[in-house]
Protein backbone atom coordinates (compact mmCIF):
# COMPACT_ATOMS: atom_id res chain seq x y z
CA UNK A 1 0.00 0.00 0.00
CA UNK A 2 1.13 3.50 -0.76
CA UNK A 3 1.96 4.79 2.64
CA UNK A 4 4.28 7.62 1.62
CA UNK A 5 4.11 10.12 -1.22
CA UNK A 6 7.08 12.24 -2.22
CA UNK A 7 6.83 15.09 -4.66
CA UNK A 8 9.95 16.75 -6.04
CA UNK A 9 11.33 17.79 -9.42
CA UNK A 10 13.06 15.09 -11.47
CA UNK A 11 15.37 17.62 -13.08
CA UNK A 12 17.01 20.77 -11.84
CA UNK A 13 19.77 23.19 -12.73
CA UNK A 14 22.94 23.12 -10.64
CA UNK A 15 22.62 25.43 -7.67
CA UNK A 16 18.84 25.67 -8.00
CA UNK A 17 16.76 25.59 -4.82
CA UNK A 18 14.26 22.76 -5.10
CA UNK A 19 11.16 22.13 -3.00
CA UNK A 20 10.48 18.63 -1.72
CA UNK A 21 7.11 17.72 -0.29
CA UNK A 22 6.47 14.48 1.54
CA UNK A 23 3.31 12.91 2.92
CA UNK A 24 3.37 9.88 5.19
CA UNK A 25 0.23 7.92 6.00
CA UNK A 26 0.14 7.59 9.77
CA UNK A 27 -2.52 7.93 12.49
CA UNK A 28 -0.19 9.92 14.82
CA UNK A 29 -2.00 8.72 17.93
CA UNK A 30 -0.98 11.20 20.62
CA UNK A 31 -0.99 8.92 23.64
CA UNK A 32 -3.16 11.39 25.54
CA UNK A 33 -6.55 10.15 24.36
CA UNK A 34 -8.69 7.68 26.25
CA UNK A 35 -11.21 5.13 25.06
CA UNK A 36 -14.85 5.22 26.15
CA UNK A 37 -13.85 2.90 28.99
CA UNK A 38 -11.20 5.30 30.23
CA UNK A 39 -8.16 3.34 29.10
CA UNK A 40 -5.30 5.33 27.68
CA UNK A 41 -4.71 4.75 23.96
CA UNK A 42 -0.97 4.10 23.71
CA UNK A 43 1.13 6.60 21.81
CA UNK A 44 1.86 5.68 18.21
CA UNK A 45 3.60 8.42 16.27
CA UNK A 46 6.37 8.98 13.77
CA UNK A 47 9.32 10.30 15.76
CA UNK A 48 11.95 10.98 13.14
CA UNK A 49 12.14 11.93 9.50
CA UNK A 50 15.41 12.27 7.61
CA UNK A 51 16.36 13.00 4.04
CA UNK A 52 19.79 12.29 2.66
CA UNK A 53 21.13 13.45 -0.68
CA UNK A 54 23.72 11.04 -2.08
CA UNK A 55 24.41 9.82 1.43
CA UNK A 56 24.70 13.24 3.08
CA UNK A 57 21.89 14.25 5.40
CA UNK A 58 20.25 17.46 4.18
CA UNK A 59 17.13 17.54 6.33
CA UNK A 60 16.00 16.09 9.63
CA UNK A 61 12.83 16.56 11.63
CA UNK A 62 11.83 15.26 15.03
CA UNK A 63 8.09 14.74 15.34
CA UNK A 64 6.08 15.03 18.53
CA UNK A 65 2.57 14.12 19.71
CA UNK A 66 0.97 17.44 18.72
CA UNK A 67 1.49 16.79 15.01
CA UNK A 68 -1.57 15.90 12.94
CA UNK A 69 -2.20 12.57 11.26
CA UNK A 70 -0.63 11.94 7.84
CA UNK A 71 2.09 14.55 8.39
CA UNK A 72 3.11 16.70 5.45
CA UNK A 73 6.74 17.76 5.57
CA UNK A 74 7.89 20.24 2.95
CA UNK A 75 11.43 21.58 2.79
CA UNK A 76 14.02 22.97 0.39
CA UNK A 77 17.47 21.90 -0.61
CA UNK A 78 20.02 22.96 -3.22
CA UNK A 79 20.41 20.72 -6.27
CA UNK A 80 24.16 20.09 -6.23
CA UNK A 81 24.65 16.97 -8.31
CA UNK A 82 22.73 14.15 -9.99
CA UNK A 83 21.88 11.27 -7.72
CA UNK A 84 19.27 9.92 -5.36
CA UNK A 85 17.51 11.29 -2.34
CA UNK A 86 16.68 8.82 0.41
CA UNK A 87 13.74 9.52 2.68
CA UNK A 88 13.29 7.68 5.93
CA UNK A 89 10.52 7.84 8.49
CA UNK A 90 10.71 5.94 11.78
CA UNK A 91 8.53 5.86 14.84
CA UNK A 92 6.80 3.97 17.63
CA UNK A 93 6.00 0.26 17.44
CA UNK A 94 8.76 -0.36 14.94
CA UNK A 95 7.21 1.91 12.30
CA UNK A 96 9.56 2.52 9.44
CA UNK A 97 9.08 3.68 5.86
CA UNK A 98 11.57 4.52 3.18
CA UNK A 99 11.41 6.08 -0.23
CA UNK A 100 14.04 7.05 -2.73
CA UNK A 101 13.83 9.37 -5.70
CA UNK A 102 16.33 10.21 -8.40
CA UNK A 103 17.23 13.70 -9.55
CA UNK A 104 19.17 14.78 -12.62
CA UNK A 105 21.16 17.97 -12.27
CA UNK A 106 22.59 19.70 -15.29
Amino acid sequence: MARVVVNMPKQARRGEIIEIRTLAGHTMETGFRRTQHGELVPRDIITLFTCSYNGAEVFRAELHPAIAANPLIAFHTIATESGTLEFRWSGDNGYSATHSAAITVD
Binding site: M1, A2, V5, R21, L23, A69, N70, L72
Partner: protein, 257 residues
Protein backbone atom coordinates in the same frame (compact mmCIF):
# COMPACT_ATOMS: atom_id res chain seq x y z
CA UNK B 1 -58.13 37.12 15.07
CA UNK B 2 -56.09 37.51 18.23
CA UNK B 3 -52.55 38.83 18.07
CA UNK B 4 -51.14 35.48 19.08
CA UNK B 5 -52.85 33.63 16.24
CA UNK B 6 -51.78 36.33 13.80
CA UNK B 7 -48.20 36.08 14.98
CA UNK B 8 -48.27 32.29 14.61
CA UNK B 9 -49.72 32.64 11.16
CA UNK B 10 -47.01 35.10 10.12
CA UNK B 11 -44.33 32.85 11.56
CA UNK B 12 -45.68 29.88 9.64
CA UNK B 13 -45.94 31.88 6.43
CA UNK B 14 -42.35 33.02 6.89
CA UNK B 15 -41.15 29.49 7.65
CA UNK B 16 -42.83 28.15 4.51
CA UNK B 17 -41.45 30.82 2.24
CA UNK B 18 -37.97 30.56 3.76
CA UNK B 19 -37.70 26.81 3.20
CA UNK B 20 -37.56 27.30 -0.57
CA UNK B 21 -34.69 25.64 -2.38
CA UNK B 22 -31.52 27.59 -3.11
CA UNK B 23 -31.65 28.96 -6.68
CA UNK B 24 -29.34 27.00 -9.00
CA UNK B 25 -27.07 29.95 -9.70
CA UNK B 26 -26.60 30.74 -6.00
CA UNK B 27 -25.32 27.34 -5.00
CA UNK B 28 -21.86 27.23 -3.48
CA UNK B 29 -19.55 24.35 -2.83
CA UNK B 30 -18.21 24.12 0.70
CA UNK B 31 -14.84 24.65 -0.95
CA UNK B 32 -15.62 28.32 -1.53
CA UNK B 33 -16.16 28.93 2.17
CA UNK B 34 -12.95 27.26 3.28
CA UNK B 35 -9.80 29.04 4.38
CA UNK B 36 -6.97 29.69 1.95
CA UNK B 37 -4.74 26.97 3.44
CA UNK B 38 -7.43 24.29 3.31
CA UNK B 39 -8.23 25.19 -0.31
CA UNK B 40 -4.54 24.94 -1.20
CA UNK B 41 -4.46 21.52 0.44
CA UNK B 42 -7.28 20.28 -1.78
CA UNK B 43 -5.93 21.87 -4.95
CA UNK B 44 -2.55 20.20 -4.90
CA UNK B 45 -2.47 16.40 -5.08
CA UNK B 46 1.05 16.42 -3.67
CA UNK B 47 -0.15 17.82 -0.34
CA UNK B 48 -3.74 16.57 -0.31
CA UNK B 49 -3.63 13.80 2.31
CA UNK B 50 -6.48 11.98 0.53
CA UNK B 51 -3.88 11.15 -2.14
CA UNK B 52 -2.75 8.35 0.18
CA UNK B 53 -6.22 6.81 -0.10
CA UNK B 54 -6.42 7.36 -3.85
CA UNK B 55 -3.08 5.59 -4.34
CA UNK B 56 -4.21 2.71 -2.14
CA UNK B 57 -7.36 2.54 -4.27
CA UNK B 58 -5.24 2.38 -7.40
CA UNK B 59 -3.34 -0.58 -5.93
CA UNK B 60 -6.60 -2.31 -4.95
CA UNK B 61 -8.02 -1.72 -8.44
CA UNK B 62 -5.26 -3.89 -9.89
CA UNK B 63 -5.21 -6.54 -7.16
CA UNK B 64 -6.93 -9.88 -7.78
CA UNK B 65 -9.49 -10.81 -5.14
CA UNK B 66 -12.11 -13.41 -4.26
CA UNK B 67 -12.85 -16.91 -5.53
CA UNK B 68 -12.92 -15.61 -9.10
CA UNK B 69 -9.35 -14.27 -8.67
CA UNK B 70 -10.30 -11.23 -10.67
CA UNK B 71 -9.22 -7.64 -10.25
CA UNK B 72 -11.38 -4.60 -11.03
CA UNK B 73 -8.91 -3.91 -13.83
CA UNK B 74 -9.58 -7.30 -15.47
CA UNK B 75 -13.11 -6.19 -16.44
CA UNK B 76 -12.89 -2.41 -16.38
CA UNK B 77 -9.30 -2.02 -17.60
CA UNK B 78 -7.90 1.45 -17.07
CA UNK B 79 -9.99 3.26 -14.49
CA UNK B 80 -8.84 6.62 -15.85
CA UNK B 81 -10.88 5.83 -18.96
CA UNK B 82 -13.61 3.44 -17.84
CA UNK B 83 -14.49 5.18 -14.57
CA UNK B 84 -14.50 8.70 -15.96
CA UNK B 85 -17.83 10.32 -15.09
CA UNK B 86 -19.14 7.32 -13.17
CA UNK B 87 -19.12 8.93 -9.72
CA UNK B 88 -20.94 11.97 -11.13
CA UNK B 89 -24.03 9.88 -11.86
CA UNK B 90 -24.20 7.93 -8.61
CA UNK B 91 -26.36 7.02 -6.66
CA UNK B 92 -27.95 5.28 -9.63
CA UNK B 93 -30.68 2.71 -10.22
CA UNK B 94 -29.32 -0.81 -10.36
CA UNK B 95 -31.48 -3.03 -12.56
CA UNK B 96 -30.35 -6.28 -10.95
CA UNK B 97 -30.78 -5.10 -7.37
CA UNK B 98 -33.94 -3.20 -8.43
CA UNK B 99 -33.08 -0.28 -6.20
CA UNK B 100 -30.93 2.81 -6.10
CA UNK B 101 -27.38 2.08 -4.95
CA UNK B 102 -24.53 4.47 -4.26
CA UNK B 103 -20.95 4.15 -5.45
CA UNK B 104 -19.76 2.21 -2.38
CA UNK B 105 -22.61 -0.26 -2.77
CA UNK B 106 -21.95 -0.55 -6.51
CA UNK B 107 -18.32 -1.46 -5.77
CA UNK B 108 -19.47 -4.06 -3.26
CA UNK B 109 -21.98 -5.51 -5.75
CA UNK B 110 -19.10 -6.04 -8.15
CA UNK B 111 -17.05 -7.53 -5.37
CA UNK B 112 -19.72 -10.07 -4.44
CA UNK B 113 -21.01 -10.94 -7.91
CA UNK B 114 -17.94 -10.68 -10.12
CA UNK B 115 -15.04 -11.26 -7.75
CA UNK B 116 -17.03 -13.65 -5.52
CA UNK B 117 -15.57 -12.19 -2.38
CA UNK B 118 -17.03 -10.93 0.87
CA UNK B 119 -18.29 -7.35 0.62
CA UNK B 120 -16.00 -4.71 2.08
CA UNK B 121 -17.26 -3.21 5.32
CA UNK B 122 -18.79 0.24 4.92
CA UNK B 123 -16.28 2.92 5.95
CA UNK B 124 -13.41 0.38 5.87
CA UNK B 125 -10.09 1.67 4.57
CA UNK B 126 -10.31 -0.52 1.46
CA UNK B 127 -13.80 0.61 0.47
CA UNK B 128 -12.96 4.27 1.05
CA UNK B 129 -9.75 3.89 -0.94
CA UNK B 130 -11.49 2.24 -3.89
CA UNK B 131 -14.35 4.75 -3.81
CA UNK B 132 -11.92 7.65 -3.66
CA UNK B 133 -9.95 6.23 -6.58
CA UNK B 134 -13.04 5.67 -8.72
CA UNK B 135 -14.56 9.05 -7.82
CA UNK B 136 -11.22 10.78 -8.47
CA UNK B 137 -11.62 9.91 -12.15
CA UNK B 138 -14.68 12.18 -12.33
CA UNK B 139 -13.04 15.24 -10.83
CA UNK B 140 -14.08 18.38 -12.66
CA UNK B 141 -17.14 16.78 -14.24
CA UNK B 142 -20.67 18.03 -13.53
CA UNK B 143 -22.85 15.98 -11.18
CA UNK B 144 -25.66 14.41 -13.19
CA UNK B 145 -27.78 11.87 -11.32
CA UNK B 146 -30.71 10.21 -13.01
CA UNK B 147 -34.07 11.79 -12.27
CA UNK B 148 -36.62 9.54 -13.92
CA UNK B 149 -39.55 7.30 -13.14
CA UNK B 150 -37.40 4.56 -11.63
CA UNK B 151 -35.48 6.82 -9.26
CA UNK B 152 -38.37 9.13 -8.41
CA UNK B 153 -39.58 7.30 -5.31
CA UNK B 154 -36.05 7.30 -3.83
CA UNK B 155 -35.47 10.93 -4.73
CA UNK B 156 -38.77 12.00 -3.16
CA UNK B 157 -38.05 9.98 -0.02
CA UNK B 158 -34.70 11.76 0.19
CA UNK B 159 -36.31 15.14 -0.24
CA UNK B 160 -38.88 14.33 2.44
CA UNK B 161 -36.07 13.35 4.79
CA UNK B 162 -34.23 16.59 4.02
CA UNK B 163 -37.31 18.60 4.99
CA UNK B 164 -38.33 16.48 7.99
CA UNK B 165 -37.56 17.69 11.48
CA UNK B 166 -35.77 15.08 13.57
CA UNK B 167 -34.05 14.54 16.86
CA UNK B 168 -34.28 16.22 20.24
CA UNK B 169 -33.33 19.55 18.68
CA UNK B 170 -36.19 19.06 16.22
CA UNK B 171 -34.27 20.31 13.22
CA UNK B 172 -34.51 19.45 9.54
CA UNK B 173 -31.53 19.47 7.18
CA UNK B 174 -33.23 22.28 5.24
CA UNK B 175 -33.32 24.59 8.24
CA UNK B 176 -29.55 24.84 8.36
CA UNK B 177 -28.48 24.03 4.82
CA UNK B 178 -31.22 25.83 2.84
CA UNK B 179 -32.51 28.59 5.08
CA UNK B 180 -29.46 29.42 7.17
CA UNK B 181 -26.65 28.54 4.80
CA UNK B 182 -23.93 31.22 4.76
CA UNK B 183 -24.95 32.30 8.27
CA UNK B 184 -22.73 31.23 11.09
CA UNK B 185 -23.02 28.44 13.63
CA UNK B 186 -20.57 29.37 16.33
CA UNK B 187 -17.59 30.64 14.40
CA UNK B 188 -18.04 28.67 11.21
CA UNK B 189 -20.01 29.35 8.08
CA UNK B 190 -22.90 26.93 7.57
CA UNK B 191 -22.35 25.30 4.18
CA UNK B 192 -25.15 24.59 1.74
CA UNK B 193 -24.38 20.92 2.08
CA UNK B 194 -23.57 19.91 -1.47
CA UNK B 195 -21.76 16.55 -1.60
CA UNK B 196 -19.25 17.64 -4.23
CA UNK B 197 -16.04 16.19 -2.84
CA UNK B 198 -16.83 12.80 -1.34
CA UNK B 199 -15.14 10.77 -0.03
CA UNK B 200 -13.50 13.73 1.72
CA UNK B 201 -10.43 14.15 3.86
CA UNK B 202 -11.86 15.92 6.87
CA UNK B 203 -9.33 17.62 9.09
CA UNK B 204 -11.56 16.98 12.10
CA UNK B 205 -11.50 13.24 11.34
CA UNK B 206 -7.80 13.19 10.53
CA UNK B 207 -8.73 10.82 7.75
CA UNK B 208 -10.96 10.09 4.78
CA UNK B 209 -14.66 9.45 5.35
CA UNK B 210 -17.80 8.87 3.34
CA UNK B 211 -20.86 11.06 2.88
CA UNK B 212 -22.79 8.70 5.13
CA UNK B 213 -20.32 9.29 7.93
CA UNK B 214 -20.81 13.02 7.44
CA UNK B 215 -24.61 12.63 7.55
CA UNK B 216 -24.25 10.56 10.71
CA UNK B 217 -22.32 13.52 12.18
CA UNK B 218 -25.25 15.85 11.47
CA UNK B 219 -27.76 13.36 12.87
CA UNK B 220 -25.82 13.09 16.12
CA UNK B 221 -25.48 16.88 16.25
CA UNK B 222 -29.25 17.34 16.15
CA UNK B 223 -29.49 14.54 18.72
CA UNK B 224 -31.31 12.18 16.45
CA UNK B 225 -30.78 8.43 16.33
CA UNK B 226 -28.42 7.99 13.39
CA UNK B 227 -29.14 5.40 10.71
CA UNK B 228 -26.63 2.69 9.86
CA UNK B 229 -23.95 3.60 7.32
CA UNK B 230 -25.07 2.35 3.93
CA UNK B 231 -28.72 2.25 5.01
CA UNK B 232 -31.61 2.86 2.63
CA UNK B 233 -32.39 6.19 4.35
CA UNK B 234 -28.90 7.57 3.79
CA UNK B 235 -28.88 6.45 0.15
CA UNK B 236 -32.21 8.24 -0.37
CA UNK B 237 -30.81 11.40 1.18
CA UNK B 238 -27.60 11.01 -0.82
CA UNK B 239 -29.56 10.82 -4.07
CA UNK B 240 -31.54 13.93 -3.16
CA UNK B 241 -28.37 15.82 -2.21
CA UNK B 242 -26.67 14.85 -5.48
CA UNK B 243 -29.77 15.90 -7.41
CA UNK B 244 -29.77 19.17 -5.45
CA UNK B 245 -26.11 19.64 -6.52
CA UNK B 246 -26.82 18.76 -10.16
CA UNK B 247 -24.50 20.54 -12.54
CA UNK B 248 -21.95 21.38 -9.85
CA UNK B 249 -18.46 20.06 -10.44
CA UNK B 250 -17.11 17.06 -8.59
CA UNK B 251 -13.98 17.80 -6.52
CA UNK B 252 -13.11 14.34 -5.22
CA UNK B 253 -10.99 13.90 -3.19
CA UNK B 254 -12.08 17.02 -1.34
CA UNK B 255 -10.57 18.42 1.84
CA UNK B 256 -12.88 19.94 4.39
CA UNK B 257 -12.27 21.44 7.83
Amino acid sequence: MSIRVLRLFLLLAFACSASAEIPLAERRSGYQDMGRETRAMQDDDAINPATLWVLDGEALWARRAGAAARACADCHQDARVSMKGVAARYPAFDAAARKVVNLEQRINLCRVERQQDKPLAYESHELLALTAYVARQSRGLPIQVESSERTRATLEAGRAMFLRREGQLNLACAQCHDERAAHRLGGTVIPQGHPTGYPIYRLEWQGVGSLHRRMRNCMVAIRAEPYALGSREYVELELYLMWRARGMLLETPGVRP
